[in-house]
Symmetry: D2
Subunit: 492 residues, 4 copies
């Protein structure tokens, strides 16, 4: 059994396993175990180059580290008698190599800077993966939209039939929101990908470290310069969680729409069985469970952010162990926001839409009444508020036709609409669903031609964003190749 | 490999493992797996008694259930291809007994009522455990207080020296708060320990179930009567999480005090090494990590509550899969609030307090100035506000003695304090720390005799609360014995 | 202009109005201004009885206080140059009576215990009002239910047609939840209605106060005994906010249901115009805005709780100014939860339900398939899982009739259902909506007779709860009469 | 009294004032009232240019709008019988000009796009102001640091003396964090400053609007293109709230440090009286209330974000009235984060630091032990873990001198440190506070020369950020001048 090497000097009293388990971050540290090996490699390469650890010791340690990288970390490292994976790995090195060699890795650093580096390395990967998922979902929305620019459907406000729109127009609303979610993620990435290494406990160290070198080896874009800031701040974590919570809120709204659309009441879409569950008791049920869980996950994402904010606020400087408790919320929030996005994309891509049902509903609930009010303004020169009132009164009377409108106009304003030139034909034409949609050619509106134009812009932006993501991924991959090559270069 | 029995009728398309994992509650279901076996037993006993499942089938199923209870659930049941542990157990029964027998357990129920029953069973155990922990912590506070009624220390407001008090008085403030935390937990227990069984999907069932019988078998105090309410509501979960978050906030404040008291700046207490960590880089460090993590956990508890509230709000009736996502927050919140309480109790019980350091600080910062102001009112008949101003001016001038006070009285109010009878001796006496504490004999105040009287009341209330907890535990234990005995009674 | 009397002793440097405004709680203190006058009266009566303030001074001060009570507080008291309303009132007393008299009110107390008393006095009123609103809503639900025990409607799970139920059964699910909300509020009331008065800054005082007397005068049920606990704890506030957030979540779910039911897609209910808005642009719109805002308020209630928890956690003892920032969240949370409940009650009471539309939808989506599966178990002796699968396959094939079922039974299990005695008539009968509902006679189920029985129980519990609320209100009213009478008794 | 013009068509039943107040956003709309006049102006200029409203009508309406801008909105517009300020202004126009003219302003728009535009206009101003405050605080930190590069002080981890650092190094940690807060705010600004105008209810309009023109007139950087996205999304609001909550968490940590530093226990700093309060009972108290409230505000900021997230998540498209309830949280969050920043800056700028007290504490608690461990590695060639253990054992024995170290080395590792060349002089030198600080020359470390170098970088970045803020402010100011000039140009 590996032995803890850190407590033995200063502290007596062995800890009971209740305390050990309470203190240990081991469970959450599985997220960063692989990153920790990379951080160890980079630190060691630097220690050697700066002459802090000698050639031979460095080679021996690196051999074990490369083994951990290639074969994975053995389970004994994750024993929760260790406070964390850092202690576990150091104990492993000392167990394998003896303290004379293994005891040298921790020169010039603390677990404070080490763990911050590990969290950032794993977090940047997760953020990048999430950016990819978001872009895939955007692609599905764009592709679907391209096929449905003429598919009319009811647009709702307040869950009431409001005005007709098209499926393409509706889906592109989500694509627009997701593009901003993407933008927030890439901004968060910039704040994540900074190196705290070399800050040690918070006051840096007397050893002649080269912080730029470890940062470069690990693919960081720059340093978190001030060493106290480097170990004590977790705003990067809060920013990622914020971006996740907002993205998750966007996704949950799309899920809500799809849940409604796939209900028997609406019948606008049929989801693939793959994304549905049935009931253990009701044999007929086909439930959109994937979407419901995805919707609920946005509550989880909000909770993760809340927890992390509550933990961080009011903490005095510099490092406090409270910071450890913030980290699992990062992983929880990333999972909550991220796990469902690919499923949402595929659920959409494989869904069957029912244009005839949508068309059937599109004109219900006097949904084109606004078009008629507009006509009264444009054709008859009425003030909009007057036109709005007259049409509203007709609806209240239960019928939109010339006589009802005429009556409303007379009673409320002493105006004869037919006298001003309104005919039943014009009323009918104004109330037509498809021509109302076709007339909405204002930038960003639902008219098919307008949506097609918008689609061209969306595709281009998406292409740009995907290229950007790929380039960041490539940068990190290259850095890793370089690091491993330098690490292996040390071996005989 | 066990086979899923629930999807095969209604749904086609196999799910990819991404979807399965996303939908499955298996990981969190480990919390309720044992409870589910008990629920199955009770349901089965009732189905048999009501003639819904025949003797022979019932006996065969019970034999497997007793095996699961006695030997624990095999790992194959927790495969996350199953949506949940309920599906896993049913599949296991069918695998062992064939569908002709194993397929009979689910008559007259749904996973909706089943899972609600399981959550409640586990949650009530956790709440009871937490009540026990809270009482243990109260006991430590009471015991410590009994030994420190005369240990003077500085009381702080705004982290500034305010007035002297005693360690006993300070600790009892926390005991008072914890007594209310206990009261909230037992109230939550009442709402948790109600049976939803028999509600089926939400509309109950056509089978002639006996809900009272299953409730009694499982130790529930009463039914959640309305069957839709029974499966759709999670306010019991939110109430437990609220009680946890508030308790955790109380505990975090005590932790903050202890962290400050154990700092070198204060030096009021030395914690046992067992509850401390050192630094991987700074050899001299002894850090109160247990208390810091405990403090941070209150952020996690708040986050769990937030998440569950965000998930539940706005959900239409009745069951939605979103509810599944609320449950893990219950376990997280219970752990966050509960895991540290026993450690906090023992950290306090094993700590070494330093009365001399506390005494040294007790009189600093003009902390007895209020006593002097009171004297000016009581002895000289000044209005309190006048006395307050005069003493305040002296403090501002940097010195509380007769000449400075005299000057302040004259300049501000044209009063001669010495003329009114104030002497330097009286000033000195009024500023004495110990006599100031001794004079605070108002109910709830820090005077040793007053605290001793308060202690008698606290001990009695604590005794009553402990008896209550023990009685609830005994009630549940008895119900379990009875259930298992009826279950085994069915076997040959 | 009134003058601040508190700073003048100890502190120099006048504050700029930016600082004053930032520090002042004046805006929120409007909630507690009236309570503060009552607290002053009680404190003064006690000071006089204990001989701390002489007869003449006491009478003069009381005269002003009675004036403030009868005429309301003049606006000059709310100047935000004062840190709080307590300072404003004291300045007003001194301005009216001179410091020799007005400067005597604050003997033996601090704003710390004063403000805690004021918050509790106002909060208990708000909690009581909320309890009354909840009971009114329960009454509306019970009354509506009594008229709709036979009104069938579709019950949804996962927003999919699940099983038929009745409107009464559905509404009573909410009544059940609201009864628990009521229970939480009355428990919170118990923790609110405790007196902190006499705790002074946190260490009580050397003046011979009678805490029991002020508590009784102000209608408090008991003391918060420990004086540090009395001024530093805000768990009562957190508990009220929790009860509010949970109640608000319940109410938001009812709002969601009504929003859906009043949509054109469902058409189950028409809300009174009074609770609806129209659109400024779409003349036909009638939107359930009241319900939408009520739904959203549950987010606000959750936010208020989160904020207060985040503020309180980790605070060292005893009083810190941070506590001031927690209080406005109490008022915000109470408003968020409470303002909409009476409107929800009236919106429900005045709504027009459409039984024919509900009936039309009740049988859609194969919603009675479970009844058929039950029949296969009860009549043919099939295991439930087998029956569930056979009916599921028929639904998947698109049709539930004997031939389809027969085919499913043969293909999947080699069983002939007709051979076992199933006929098309039995299938038809099993699928009938009304008889399925009538068969759900299990306790808590939707069968009309069962619901009628449940209604009797609900009415009785509601009656009991209303009586309890009324009795608490009466107790507070009596205490206030007594206090005012003692106060006026002091006047000439 | 102005009359509501919007409900009169479609809806009957007058609303009681309870409903009106519940529905109305008037109170919060004071934040956007001025912005609404600007939006009206821009919309009107565009309607006229597009020929939708004739010259004469446009001129008359503009005259009233210019009056509202110049003289402020009269109180009658804020009557909460109106649902919002938009309805109030339209009613005012109709009241002044008659419906024939005033009834024309709302052509081609809805309150949905109007309110989104107003919120964005006000929010961008608030965000800009906040950016300015953050930069001012950074400037204070930089300036203070420049004067304190050689002021040694104890650095804490876990609130325990950890290692010596300097005041400059400590303060710059906060400056670094605030620079990232600034970066988040400017990113949020980009997402805020987009125009939703022209989206109407969500489906744009049949009127030939020119969205680019109104966007330009109002100083927006670009459109939110998709019209449904434009009115339904509030991610910009959530992003601002996130940036505020994170900034507020940063600021609360600085406040916590200052509260501790100004306590009698530490005595590192004396705050100006202006930012402090005293006690109403304790005459000697000088409390850092401004900092405490600022610390608590971070809880409020977190609560505002939570509330808004909870409200937005799961909402189906497109506009729902729930959105109205999200807006006040934006203002609350902005105030919570922003109001205290200028005060924090000035409290810091006017504080008196006590270098001698800091120096006195800097070397306590064996805070330079790490330097000694480093020496054992660098001079004697020991592995770091061995050196760490030896020094730790000496601390545990209570003394760091050669004999104690020698004993520890022998007992634990069989090493003679003196044999390896360690002398008491070297031990002493390694433990010297100032030389330890001077040796921390790693990038970002506390050595005075290193901090001076860092300061140059910080000043430059701050200069760049200030220029950027100024340029954005200038852009908005210019747009406003242009808009008003075009508006006035319409008048005779």
């Amino acid at each position: 059994m590996l032995k803890d090497q850190i407590r033995r000097g200063r502290l007596g009293a062995e800890r009971g396993c209740g305390v050990s388990r309470f203190l240990s971050s081991m469970e959450a540290d599985r997220w960063i175990a692989e990153a920790d090996v990379l951080v160890d490699m980079a630190h060691l390469l630097m220690l050697r180059r700066q002459g802090i650890v000698g050639e031979e010791h460095a080679r021996a340690i690196m051999e074990v580290l490369v083994g951990l990288h290639d074969d994975g970390l053995p389970e004994e490292i994750f024993d929760d008698r260790f406070e964390d994976v850092h202690a576990g790995i150091e104990a492993y090195l000392i167990d394998r190599l003896g303290e004379e060699t293994g005891g040298r890795i921790h020169a010039g650093r603390s677990r404070n800077d080490e763990v911050a580096a590990c969290i950032r390395i794993r977090a940047r990967e997760e953020v990048l993966r999430l950016m990819g998922s978001v872009n895939r979902l955007r692609e599905v929305l764009v592709t679907l939209s391209a096929g449905h620019t003429a598919t009319v459907m009811p647009g709702f406000t307040h869950l009431q039939h409001a005005q007709p729109t098209t499926l393409a127009h509706h889906l592109l609303a989500y694509e627009g929101a997701l593009a901003r979610d993407y933008a927030r993620l890439i901004m968060a990435f910039a704040r994540v990908n900074e190196s705290p290494l070399g800050a040690a406990a918070f006051a840096s160290t007397g050893f002649p470290l080269d912080r730029d070198y470890t940062a470069e080896l690990l693919g960081f874009d720059r340093l978190v310069e001030n060493s106290m800031d480097a170990v004590s701040s977790r705003d990067f974590l809060l920013e990622v969680l914020s971006a996740c919570a907002i993205l998750s809120a966007t996704a949950s709204r799309l899920a809500s729409d799809l849940i409604l659309w796939s209900s028997s009441l609406a019948g606008f879409v049929t989801l693939s069985d793959e994304y549905c569950s049935t009931s253990s008791i009701m044999p007929q049920k086909k439930n959109p469970d994937t979407l419901e869980i995805l919707r609920a996950k946005s509550g989880t994402a909000a909770g993760s952010l809340t927890a992390a904010l509550a933990i961080m606020r009011g903490l005095p400087m510099s490092y406090n162990r409270d910071l450890q408790e913030a980290t699992p919320h990062l992983w929880q929030g990333l999972s909550a926001a991220g796990d469902g996005i690919p499923l949402l994309a595929e659920a959409l891509a494989t869904a069957t839409f029912h244009p005839e049902r949508m068309a059937e509903e599109a004109g219900k609930g006097f949904s084109t009444a606004t078009g008629l009010a507009d006509l009264l303004v444009q054709d008859l020169g009425l003030p909009f508020r007057t036109a709005h009132t007259i049409v509203g009164k007709a609806v209240r009377a239960g019928k939109i036709d010339l006589p009802t409108l005429e009556k409303a106009g007379k009673e409320s304003f002493g105006i004869s609409l037919s006298g001003l030139g309104l005919s039943q034909e014009k009323v009918q034409a104004a109330l037509d669903v498809r021509s109302m949609v076709d007339a909405r050619t204002v930038t960003g509106g639902p008219a098919p031609a307008t949506v097609k134009k918008a689609l061209r812009g969306r595709k281009e932006e998406l292409k740009r964003d995907r290229a950007e993501t790929v380039s960041l991924e490539a940068g990190l991959a290259e850095a890793r190749v370089r690091l491993l090559s330098e690490a292996r270069g040390l071996l005989p």
